[in-house]
């Protein structure tokens, strides 16, 4: 009787392994965390169910919505099967005149015309300048677009998971150039490029910052190499690049130099990664960390000016509005700091407002209002003066 018993145990154990794989397999689905953009009183945002939505901030009503075709998610583990899933959106829409640009996880860049979408015409309406560009799959590497798009006067710049940066014509979506940054072995390109002068700077997960010619995409002579990978998109102030690394430091790198100007914290690393891009204002770098702290650092020296413990990881980049620094933590508390006041070592926020939903996406602020997409797929508009959520609207379509 022992053999069947053991056989039974083996089968049970294998089934449990299968179950675990199936559960964690479904957890591997990309869900997205699209950020908000506000332009001329209209809120632009990607939703968790794969739509680009616009909301009129005065009437709080939906202006128009565009649904992106769902994708087939691959199976993982025994008996899980493949499923149809909404396209994930991680990027923040970029509005340039009448066109809204957005990169999506299934590898497309969409240029949506506000007028054509509000009339619900078939996409793409080329006479309105609409187009869709398919990022190629390179050596079986995913073409997913995770990083925010970068729009300049002349072109649109796209980082793709396939390790390449593309420059597209804004009007027609034609390819201007492409530049291979990472080979198929060295991970994804999930960080956004940044422009300084006639150069495009890109940070990579394998610990490099590359400089590319804005015109041709050619790799320029200077690059920076670090032992650990860079997890955040670079930010440039003057001739200095600021960005976070997987080694739990924030780096300041002078363009042209091959040693960091400084790294923060000075002594031991922070409690976790600097995942969100920092912001720089009047010689001070403001950086949120996954250890739950906000740091204000002197841009020239890397010296800490003050810190604040938000209690929960900070995933979204801080935002500046006039003299106010706005920070949200992952559990959805919005902290407002008055930068005109003298902040001590342990800073105290002017206000702390809870929206009651998790926050991972980037957010924006205008005229005393903060526009946040919660992980519950609602838009929350926080009124700083009133110190609370002014109004909120669901982004999910009711069945």
């Amino acid at each position: 009787m022992k053999q069947p018993k053991i056989l039974f145990l083996v089968v049970i154990a294998l089934l449990s392994l299968t179950l675990v794989s199936c559960i964690s397999g479904s957890a591997r689905l990309a869900k997205g965390w699209a950020g908000t953009a506000v332009h001329e009183g209209i809120i632009y945002v990607g939703t968790a169910d794969g739509r680009v939505v616009t909301i009129n901030s005065s009437t709080e009503n939906l202006e128009w919505s565009y649904s992106i075709a769902p994708v087939t998610a691959p199976s993982s583990g025994l008996a899980c099967g493949s499923t149809s899933a909404s396209t994930a959106i991680y990027g923040t829409p970029v509005v340039d005149r009448d066109i809204v640009y957005i990169g999506i996880y299934s590898g497309q860049v969409l240029a949506l015309n506000k007028l054509a979408r509000s009339q619900n015409l078939t996409f793409p309406q080329q006479r309105y300048g609409e187009w869709e560009w398919d990022c190629p799959i390179d050596n079986a590497k995913s073409n997913a677009i995770v990083a925010d798009l970068l729009v300049s006067e002349d072109a649109l710049y796209v980082s793709s998971s396939n390790g390449r940066v593309y420059s597209l014509d804004k009007e027609f979506g034609d390819l201007n150039w492409e530049s291979k940054i990472l080979d198929e072995k060295h991970g994804n390109l999930w960080t956004s490029p940044v422009i300084q002068g006639d150069t495009l700077y890109v940070s990579t997960f394998d610990g490099h910052i590359y400089a590319l010619s804005l015109e041709t995409g050619e790799l320029l002579d200077w690059f920076f190499e670090s032992e650990a990978g860079f997890d955040s998109s670079p930010v440039i102030d003057g001739d200095t690049i600021f960005l976070g690394s997987f080694d739990r430091y924030l780096y300041a790198i002078k363009i042209g130099s091959d040693v960091p100007m400084w790294k923060f914290p000075e002594e031991k690393p922070a409690g976790n990664w600097f995942w969100a891009s920092p912001i720089v204002n009047e010689g001070i770098v403001y950086a949120g960390c996954l250890d739950g702290k906000v740091y204000a650092i002197e841009a020239k020296t890397g010296g800490k000016l003050w810190e604040f413990d938000a209690g929960n990881p900070i995933v979204s980049s801080p935002v500046l509005m006039d003299n106010l620094l706005i920070v949200t933590n992952e559990s959805g508390t919005v902290y407002i700091f008055d930068l005109s006041a003298e902040l001590e070592d342990e800073a105290v926020p002017l206000k702390a407002i809870s929206i009651g939903a998790d926050v991972r996406s980037s957010f924006c602020a205008q005229e005393g209002l903060v526009y946040i997409r919660g992980e519950d797929n609602w838009i929350y508009v926080v009124d700083i003066d009133r110190g609370g959520v002014s109004w909120k609207v669901p982004l999910t379509i009711e069945e």
Partner: protein, 247 residues
Amino acid sequence: MIEVWHLIIGNPVLNVLIALSHILAGEFGLAIIALTIIVRLISWPLTKRQLNSSKALQDMQPKIQELQKKYGKNKQKLQQEMTKLYKEAGINPLGCLWPMLIQFPIWIALYQAIMRALATTPENLLGLAHRLYSWDMVNQAIPLISKFLWLDLGQPDPYWILAIIVGGTMWVQQKMTQAPAVDPGQQSTSRMMLLMMPLMFGFLTLMFPSGLALYWAVSNIIGIITQYFFTGGWGYLKFRSPFQSTQ
């Protein structure tokens, strides 16, 4: 309960695996192989006991054959005598399965560690940040390279090579350690298990990330080598059951 699992097994396996990857020039595949060796070293006392048992069973074969001749027609009596003989020698003929069963939590933790460490989605990568220790070598190794030889360690092997290796090595290892059953009824179960387990694992290899299958393959190969040198040969791989000769 889940947090306890992560604290005790999940996170240590994940962090050790990533640290090993950093030590081994960022090769995650080599890290999995190194982890397999470490697991086999930790479970050595158990393996040793099983090997002793297996060797003793082999040494006992003349006595078994003697009993076979003596009680060949009385199956019940033969069964009783065999059980008595095993008991006197302190042997469990199915002991070889226990080390495998004990490894199940490691398999589950390894599966989770592979999927987490390779962080195929932004959510996975962000989630990984909360499971890493503050060791420099762990944070410097992120993100990991999923390519190893012809494999993408986060995906099943599309060429079936690993499935054949896993199934084949498992069959050899089992064949080496599994003593021939005495009772004809048990013999059929035993034969079924001998085939079913390698087939099942070969099939699972086609479904699971090849990183986990790599662990199975290396673990089996280590098992075969250990068994070979410990018992001084191929064990039951060459041995013919007394039943087969008499039937």
